[in-house]
Subunit: 399 residues, 2 copies
Amino acid sequence: MAQGHLSLLRCMECGNTHQLDDPVYVCGKCGGLLDVEHDLEAIKPRISRALFDERLGALDQPYNSGVWRYKELVFPEAQDTGSFKDRGMTGGVTHAVMVEASGVVCASTGNTSASMASYAALAGIQGLVFFPFGNIAAGKLAQSVAYGAISVQVKGDFDASLALVRQACREFGIYLLNSVNPFRLEGQKTIVFEIIQQRRWQVPDWIVLPGGNLGNTSAFGKGLKELYDVGLIDRIPRIAVIQAEGAAPFYQSYKDGFAERHTVKAHTIASAIKIGNPASYIKARRTLDLTNGVVEVVTDQEIVDAKAQVDASGIGCEPASAASVAGVRKLIASGVIKPGDDVVAILTGHVLKDPGVVMDYHNGTLEGLQSPYANHLRTIEPTLAAVQALLNQEKVPTR
Amino acid sequence: MAQGHLSLLRCMECGNTHQLDDPVYVCGKCGGLLDVEHDLEAIKPRISRALFDERLGALDQPYNSGVWRYKELVFPEAQDTGSFKDRGMTGGVTHAVMVEASGVVCASTGNTSASMASYAALAGIQGLVFFPFGNIAAGKLAQSVAYGAISVQVKGDFDASLALVRQACREFGIYLLNSVNPFRLEGQKTIVFEIIQQRRWQVPDWIVLPGGNLGNTSAFGKGLKELYDVGLIDRIPRIAVIQAEGAAPFYQSYKDGFAERHTVKAHTIASAIKIGNPASYIKARRTLDLTNGVVEVVTDQEIVDAKAQVDASGIGCEPASAASVAGVRKLIASGVIKPGDDVVAILTGHVLKDPGVVMDYHNGTLEGLQSPYANHLRTIEPTLAAVQALLNQEKVPTR
């Protein structure tokens, strides 16, 4: 680690390094993915479980944030981050501010853009979002527009939008906040920090999550390795990545022993993971190596049915999130997850992100899919007799 | 307080009392609003700022909840509440479980139902929701259906739906979870507890909130009075209630010195406060007395413009919430809120609750309203030239 700095950026393709205050987020030499490397030996004596536990009740910035609570392992030398609270985007926007970016941009199926638009607004930087054409979930589109980002539909799919935006960033010098940005992953990895802290530092056997662009997969592996290296945990859980059957290039690569980097034309109802050429492929592969991980696929029918059940539990999630739960089920059925294993599955998005899918499922109007757990909306006259008929029909006990 | 119990229910109309484990939520004698009375003298030695501060970092139930953290002032003798986390509904559902309700029901413009459906599912009780006919925000309707409540549109407005549901509860013995339920308000009052605790027990001059059915208004006054009575705060902030011009019966009553309880046929774009006959009228009036409070009205145009600005700050809210901000503006303009006053305004609902209003505002298609802060969705071809034209048009600096 050069000149006493606690962190640097290293290219995962060519090994070239950058300082953190360089205005780059991909390798300046070869364009490859950068990895944030922290000087864990220097950081280790400054942190402990007790320190992070103390900060749980913090009222003041930055430690009242679920990301900046772990500041020493996220961005040890960052300025104060102000009001930003999200994971991932708070890391990325902090760096954009540090390097005085004039505008920030992302291609998005809707969640990245909602988050970027919000934190860009909080930081006073103009946001610019490139959506694939059509089929953006209503809530997600509304968030980008409401938060004031310049919101653009590109005539193409997500992979085309991301390729265009990466090219535009190189050409016009705007700052990219897709998950190829390594500071995004520094924020996202705090999800595993918080999971393990909330479990009072007891490590589960498995952490299961949906896989699309593979940013979370990449971040989780890095975070777990760092926790292990600084001695905050004594073993590493296995990661299981769940892809939708129609958008499973990483699964294909996993199946052939990573002999080839596959890409596909993505098709799935789970729009957040409808990605055919995952940007974080290399980093996600590292996660599988680090954690003895596995990759599984689930069908759209399995996804919407798992979602209906997660929803009906009173918690709820967006379609992509339910892939985790459908995936756990499949991995138990195939014997990969064993009876008695301690499993954490991640729900990545709120049910309110995609109200259209909810109503289509429960109305039975999802194209090509069944709705075995449907809950139909009823209409009644405003009379007691109508209420009584409803209660009888629904078998709600009355006195 | 009878027989050493720390709390009882007292009718605000006839003075009749009930024990907390009685299966009632309105007066068993006259049907009037019940108030939860805590034996604050007995509770006072058991609590302190330090106790509540210690619990801020709690990982375990029940103190890891923003409601049950203040358990001694909410429901001192409640059983453990399991997974419930919301305000208001966690109080109400806890009582429904205590009295072994077979089903729970509410009339709702969409937020109460979302919350009830979730906590009913978590508690394993069947939920039943009565919506007014038409115009329920997409996110809110989706939540009720997704969380498994029996969801019914009643051919009538909110006030008709509430009247019907109250009648049905009396007739058929199902458990009512509208805010006439006093345990709802016990949970909701923790909003002011948390505000003041987050401010390190420094009391603001004003707390400003939207007024519809007046449950929050009622709960806030009660909570502030209790904090004052047990000595956790040394003065009481003033409450300002903001109603939409087309749904302002409480404002009318305020203006005539509460000589009359007004009702109106409600019309406003802010569906969460589109209520013409507020159920908590008496309790809200008590809040105004206790806090030297005021009531103000704002137009729908003021609401949607304030919302566009709250949204563009990167925070966002639903339409009704923006009434708070529009109201603060109006009260400053009229000199009621003075320069230098310390003001907290409440945003009651997430921007994702009502994505339809967002898109209609920014598309300029809100009937009868202007969109001065509109942010239009654009479409471009997937080419660098199209991106460059966009950046020029939007004046985003490039290198």
